[in-house]
Symmetry: C2
Subunit: 440 residues, 2 copies
């Protein structure tokens, strides 16, 4: 870690429990509510203020060598509706931008006295609308927690062991990019087909087993691989733009019926929620940990010299329609993952599959070994057999209409600050009415 | 069918066996090789000529009421790098554009005498470079041929019957959009993991079972559904922009090892080839047929009053590195599909999944009931047990390096012309060398 980070302090107010001190500097997209054109532009967040990076870019506040060159070429990466242009640059650019923003917004900086400039580019978070941070070309979701994989195999298929292919490769599925939304978007309960074990045929229903999956996602960036050319594990880190919290909403009853042999489609494609701020690798650098040695020894293309993971606490909370406050469902950690990020990405490309800046990759539910660490309702309620008791006296086996499910994640520094994601929330709406099928 | 279609003739030359008479008018994207800026723009094709629609649009040749209104608003839909803007308009616009182009290019039209205009907008096909026609937001591939599903179940899993869920819903998987390429792009053989039944562990290999899948795909367009709101079968047809031939390249050995429980990832994500010209529904209208009544009766959301399919002949040919001409591998028909297009799309959205203009949907391998109608190598060679004999004396169980696999599709009109797709071709390159994993 850069030694300066620990003493860094912003002139903008940051509460002690904020996820967004000047040490974070995440990237996102927003527009000020006062802008009648509602034009999205790129921004960052310090405390409860959002900063308009497009404005600062247009006024040439990015004076580092790399951004100065971009300015000379009239290339504007923050005056964009998504972060993809910025993500397409290489990691040195992302680092320079973060460093510049930290310099600009630290206590005593020249900018701290330019009140007229600040009035043009700093907005209270309540006065902006947050947008999807990237145009997501493809979304892939892995299943990299051994605890989750073990629980799911036992619960749904009666397996006593994690399957052999899971131990040999990072299992994942191609997800849906059109339905990725940011925190706050409502989640209509999906309809579809399900067949209970004691039924002869499937039924057309509104899902009765709507679940969350507590995941961490990462966005890819930089100059990525051409079709036909795999990335090696050593090449991967420079292509990880940053992290988000990710809720891979899943309809377990639809999934059980549809998933053989081509995997989940409707049980996952209706919604995926991400937190709006993408937190860089550099912001989490001080929380890097070594993951355990893997057995069996990975195949050549999956060998990862470093085996780096991140110590990031992940929590899911619930607020029902009868309650006015959130209460915890589970608490786990990103370091419980078996497969590392380089292994996931190297595996994704080993076939020659090309990746693009703005692609989103999920970890799979980050369940830990203990019951309170399970990252889904299907594990927490043991597929409905052990209802989860809430402080309101209510019980839950899966999500009910009106429930708000809130994921969050953070790491606490020894130096007193917190690096985190803020909120990744969704509230369940009732399924659409069947009258849509009536003739008009 | 419009009665005029049968007597319609273009002043541009069209050979008798051309897939692109003036009755077709497909849409695609290209740039003239003479353009040093290589700027893609939208076009169509008549015979062996490509027509620059962006040029005709800029000169206000689209004089129908809908396009006149667009012109007044200064909205240019063909002067774009992809067809997405045009696809985002409603079906009436697609129809008006096709009709206008037919009027412009029919024998004796005023344009036929404007040689200086024609010299600016008509290019021999050999003097242009074709491009991917759309920015594909998401690619979903169904598995809608009962014959293919039966063969695969029997071959790979020993099932004597099509599975119950297959008969109840259009099974499909989320594919990869980054790796969709157009005809002519080379196909590097994928690497990955496979485990043979007699092996204790998986191996890291170049796929030994690289296969094609002969499919038809369709592109979506118009004002599509919002998240949470399913499309009904009756609403679907207005959202089908047009068809392409589609080769869902598949590595069967990687697939067998990876697909439980989340479906295919690396075995499919390396490449998908489509034909470059999108042929409209209207061009195929005279070839519409009724598909058989389904048993069991579909669930409410899958009921399709019309049960329309299309009588489109589909063929796959092969040319090995030892040969200088193509020879047939199989010949089938799009009308063999069990699930209709409205059923596929209604099912895709029943969960609330939102679709977008430019999304691509595949049919799955269109195998017919007879051996010569099987649309994959795994069926043709019965998973390698019955090598397929070629006229060169060579045998094939799966694709070998240097093989060119060519898909095509067409319908022959009683009125003497052919509506078709042209070529959907890919040539297999050897897998990337393992030296990429050597330390640098």
């Amino acid at each position: 870690m850069d030694a300066d980070q620990k003493i860094l302090k912003s002139f903008l107010p940051v509460s002690e429990d904020s996820h967004f001190p000047i040490q974070n500097i995440p990237f996102g997209v927003f527009y000020p509510n006062s802008d009648a054109t509602k034009t999205p532009r790129c921004g960052t967040r310090i405390g409860d203020n959002v900063i308009d990076l497009a404005y600062l870019e247009s006024k040439n506040y990015f004076t580092g060598p790399l951004f100065s060159t971009l300015a000379k070429e009239n290339k504007r990466v923050f005056n964009q509706r998504q972060l993809n242009e910025f993500m397409s640059l290489e990691r040195e650019y992302w680092r320079e931008a973060r460093k510049t923003i930290q310099d600009l917004f630290q206590e005593g900086s020249p900018l701290s006295k330019e009140t007229s400039v600040l009035s043009e580019c700093v907005y209270p978070i309540k006065e902006v609308t947050l947008c999807l941070p990237a145009q997501i070309g493809d979304f892939t979701d892995f299943n990299s927690s051994k605890h989750h994989s073990y629980n799911m195999g036992l619960l749904l298929r009666g397996y006593k062991e994690v399957q052999q292919n899971w131990l040999r490769l990072p299992i994942g599925y191609a997800g849906r990019s059109s339905s990725v939304v940011i925190s706050g978007a409502k989640i209509p309960r999906p309809r579809g087909q399900a067949k209970l074990p004691d039924q002869n045929d499937s039924e057309y229903i509104a899902s009765k087993k709507l679940d969350f999956e507590m995941e961490l996602g990462f966005f890819l960036g930089g100059k990525l691989n051409n079709q036909g050319t795999p990335l090696t594990t050593a090449q991967v880190w420079d292509h990880i733009f940053g992290f988000v919290m990710l809720n891979d909403w899943s309809a377990r009853d639809l999934q059980t019926w549809e998933y053989v042999p081509l995997g989940p489609l409707n049980s996952k494609n209706f919604n995926t929620t991400i937190s709006p701020w993408i937190v860089t690798l550099d912001a989490f650098e001080e929380f890097r940990v070594k993951l355990p040695v893997q057995e069996p020894e990975p195949h050549l293309y999956l060998k990862d010299e470093n085996m780096w993971g991140y110590d990031i606490t992940m929590e899911t909370l619930i607020k029902t329609s009868k309650s006015d406050k959130y209460e915890p469902l589970c608490k786990s950690n990103y370091k419980y993952l078996h497969w590392t990020i380089p292994q996931q990405v190297a595996h994704h490309t080993v076939s020659g599959c090309n990746l693009r800046p703005g692609d989103l990759v999920g970890s799979g539910a980050c369940s830990g070994p203990e019951e309170g660490e399970y990252g889904t309702f299907v594990e927490l309620s043991w597929n409905g057999k052990k209802p989860f008791k809430l402080s309101t006296g209510e019980e839950r086996t899966f999500c009910e209409d009106g429930d708000s499910i809130l994921l969050t994640g953070y790491s606490k520094s020894k130096n007193g600050y917190i690096i985190g994601f803020g909120e990744c929330e969704g509230t369940i709406l009732p399924a659409v009415d069947l009258s849509i099928y009536e003739k008009k």
